[in-house]
């Protein structure tokens, strides 16, 4: 029996058809808790001596199918699903870092990712140094003895800067620091970061993985490929006695899934950002068609790039598939099947023209999300990234004229027609701006 391939795993991984009723679809286990067979089974479950479910803050059978499917698709040893992408990052920091620890993070990221480190974790004594994800040497230089994770987005939001995973992984491996990546923009269909040396993968499942825009969700995937014991004492949450479970040493008893077990037994247990079973069901429905959708996202993106680069109302277009993108070669090397479906463009006429474009689209939706099946547009500088500092904004290339496009799955002719009329409307404000 050969190992199933990606498209097959997207449909089947994590689930054996239910033995009692034979339900083919994943049943929604809308329950908070599970009847124990006897007191011994209850005690064994509470002490992680047997597999099974206790309480849905920790695990749930529907959510477990999703988690196992994600582990299968990304090449992880185990996954933990969370209420959102943000809580996935939060429980990861919680599992690895304590007051006095240090993080090296990318300067080119989604606003809330930056803010969590800069403004929230800093209040709990965890300091972060921000560096360019494109500069492995800068990452090396920023790592300190108390650095507990290096974090970045594989594809940065919204600049589409690409992290050269093998190069960064070589640095983190040498320094014995886990490389944690946000893989929201790539999905395992484009690249599986664990195969390129990442140790922990975080997803916002709200985006392409779900694809339908109906449910929030996140996940932490444990690559199982980090040696938590290599530097004695460096990762006490993994190698010292756990506060629960009879003081178990997770690294000794659970080995490659020590980290996922810590996330489950601390982040989910004590903070509790669990995914609702109904949301897990929705996201599973999305993942079933992930390979098909991603192909269409990529082909529509290619058409969109051609359309925009030839449009007179567009002053610049940024996407890794374009030769002038600074990470073009890295993107093609790491993601040959496609380089993502987010495009940034500059609308001639600056902020006013960008606003006019956004207000004039009809088929495309103006909203704060990416990776939906439908085409989306937004002005990040005044919305998704507006809470970061002016310097960070400049470093992220968030200019006034920038519009972020998340290319959807519509017939491209219809998107092109919509964009044509909206760009025309943007063009009408240019003379006005020039006159002012």
């Amino acid at each position: 029996m050969a190992d199933y391939k990606f498209d097959t795993l997207s449909l089947h991984a994590g689930q054996s058809p239910d033995g009692r009723f034979g339900s083919r679809a994943v049943p929604i286990h809308q329950t908070t808790s599970y009847v124990f067979q006897d007191t011994e089974q209850a005690a064994a479950l509470f002490n992680m001596e047997i597999g099974g479910h206790i309480y849905s803050r920790l695990t749930n059978p529907t959510v477990a199918v999703l988690e196992q499917r994600l582990a299968a698709l990304d090449g992880g040893v185990a996954a933990v699903a969370t209420a959102s992408g943000m809580s996935a990052l939060f429980v990861t920091v919680l599992a690895l870092c304590s007051a006095g620890d240090h993080i090296v993070a990318s300067s080119q990221m989604y606003g809330a990712n930056i803010n969590l480190f800069q403004h929230t974790m800093s209040r709990y004594g965890i300091e972060t140094t921000f560096v360019s994800p494109r500069d492995p040497e800068a990452i090396r230089a920023a790592i300190r003895p108390n650095t507990k994770m290096v974090f970045g987005e594989v594809i940065g939001n919204p600049g589409m800067d690409i992290m050269d995973l093998p190069a960064v992984a070589a640095v983190t491996k040498e320094a014995n620091v886990p490389l944690v990546v946000d893989a929201t923009f790539n999905t395992p269909w484009m690249i599986k970061p664990i195969e390129h040396g990442a140790n922990i993968v975080i997803h916002s499942l709200t985006k392409w993985m779900g694809g339908h825009g109906v449910a929030l969700g996140g996940a932490v995937i444990d690559g199982g490929n980090f040696d938590w014991g290599a530097t004695p004492g460096k990762f006490p949450t993994m190698t010292d006695a756990h506060f629960g479970y009879q003081g178990v040493n997770l690294w000794e008893e659970f080995g490659p899934m020590a980290f996922a077990t810590r996330v489950r037994t601390e982040g989910m247990m004590n903070a509790g950002p669990c995914m609702a079973p109904q949301n897990a069901f929705y996201i599973l429905q999305g993942i079933e068609t992930l390979p098909l959708r991603m192909e269409r996202h990529m082909s529509n993106t290619a058409k969109m790039l051609e359309f925009l680069t030839n449009h007179e109302q567009v002053s610049w277009v940024k996407h890794p598939a374009l030769p002038e993108h600074p990470d073009h070669e890295t993107a093609l090397r790491l993601m040959p099947k496609g380089q993502g479906s987010i495009i940034s463009m500059g609308v001639k006429g600056g902020r006013a023209a960008a606003s006019a474009f956004i207000e004039s689209v009809g088929l495309a939706s103006h909203l704060a999300n990416v990776g939906d099946a439908k085409t989306l547009v937004i002005h990040p500088g005044s919305t998704t990234h507006s809470h970061i500092t002016a310097e960070a904004m400049e470093a992220a290339g968030l200019t006034d004229d920038l519009v972020r496009i998340s290319v959807g799955l519509e017939d491209f002719d219809d998107i092109a027609a919509d964009f044509s009329q909206a760009l025309k409307a943007a063009g009408r404000v240019v003379p006005k701006v020039a006159a002012e």
């Binding site: 002490n47 582990a71 080995g255």
Partner: protein, 268 residues
């Protein structure tokens, strides 16, 4: 815990509990390219149920130092030294796959140290085909992948784990990759060269239990039944498990093993 065995630091899991060598000891013996983690759920459950569960990593495996051992007979001798070093006079032993070949040797040649022997997913011999041996020698990651494919039955292949959220195939791969390079080849070669299973089994007098897997592609159930026929004793078959029954259907292994151990306790 870590103890010195033949001059090398040796790790043994005790299921997260303090270990008393004078208690009722159940000693698990891991298979080719594996380490203590394969028995994670069995040793955790028994360690918390009044048994003194212990699972050492063979040299060069898991967290134990030293070079992998070349023959099944030498592995048994090493295990006897391990028991001495840990202060264990006598133990119930349970081996999986190659570990069950070691258990055969232990039960026959170190019978004074063995109370009972359990053989999981094994046979009188485990011949390894040249293709897998070649892969293990020259392309270990490919050999690990092949063993994950052949070693798992339907539940493993759809990544449907009893530990919610985990993947058997990827966990197993990382577990195997954490041993020293070359450990897998040395182990598989040791299995392949072991040909005295039938004579050894005939010499065993302690109580025995065989736990075989219906979907086992590495040690087919037919070969497992021959082992049982040679030993007599108890037999349990798990129809839907593959070779890695200990992780694929952990409770289906733990339950009969526990019953067997408890029955020994009563008889003693």
């Amino acid at each position: 815990m870590k103890i010195d065995v033949q001059g090398h630091s040796t790790f043994a899991s005790t299921g997260g509990r303090a270990f008393d060598p004078k208690g009722d000891v159940i000693l698990f013996i891991h298979g080719s390219g594996q380490n203590h983690l394969g028995f994670m759920l069995q040793h955790r459950f028994l360690a918390n149920r009044g048994w003194q569960a212990i699972t050492p990593d063979f040299p060069g495996h898991g967290k134990s130092e030293g070079d992998p051992i070349a023959t099944i007979e030498e592995m048994a001798a090493w295990l006897a030294s391990f028991m001495d070093a840990a202060g264990i006079e006598k133990a119930h032993i349970a081996g999986h796959s190659q570990g069950a070949l070691v258990a055969l040797e232990m039960a026959a040649k170190f019978s004074d140290k063995v109370r009972s022997a359990t053989f999981i997913a094994s046979a009188l011999g485990i011949p390894v085909n040249d293709y897998l041996l070649g892969l293990a020698k020259d392309r270990e990651p490919k050999a690990i992948k092949a063993m994950m494919d052949w070693g798992h039955g339907p539940t493993g292949h759809v990544h449907d784990h009893t530990m919610p959220g985990a993947s058997h195939m990827h966990y197993g791969s990382q577990l195997m990759a954490s041993n020293v390079p070359g450990a897998l080849f040395t182990d598989l070669n040791a299995c392949n060269e072991y040909t005295t299973g039938a004579e050894t089994a005939a010499a065993i007098t302690c109580p025995t239990l065989c736990i075989l897997s219906g979907q086992d592609k590495m040690t087919p159930i037919k070969a497992g039944r021959k082992l049982h026929a040679a030993l007599g004793g108890k037999l349990v078959e798990i129809p839907h498990a593959g070779h890695m029954s200990i992780t694929e259907q952990p409770w289906d292994v733990t339950k009969p093993l526990r019953g067997f151990l408890e029955s020994q306790r009563v008889e003693a």
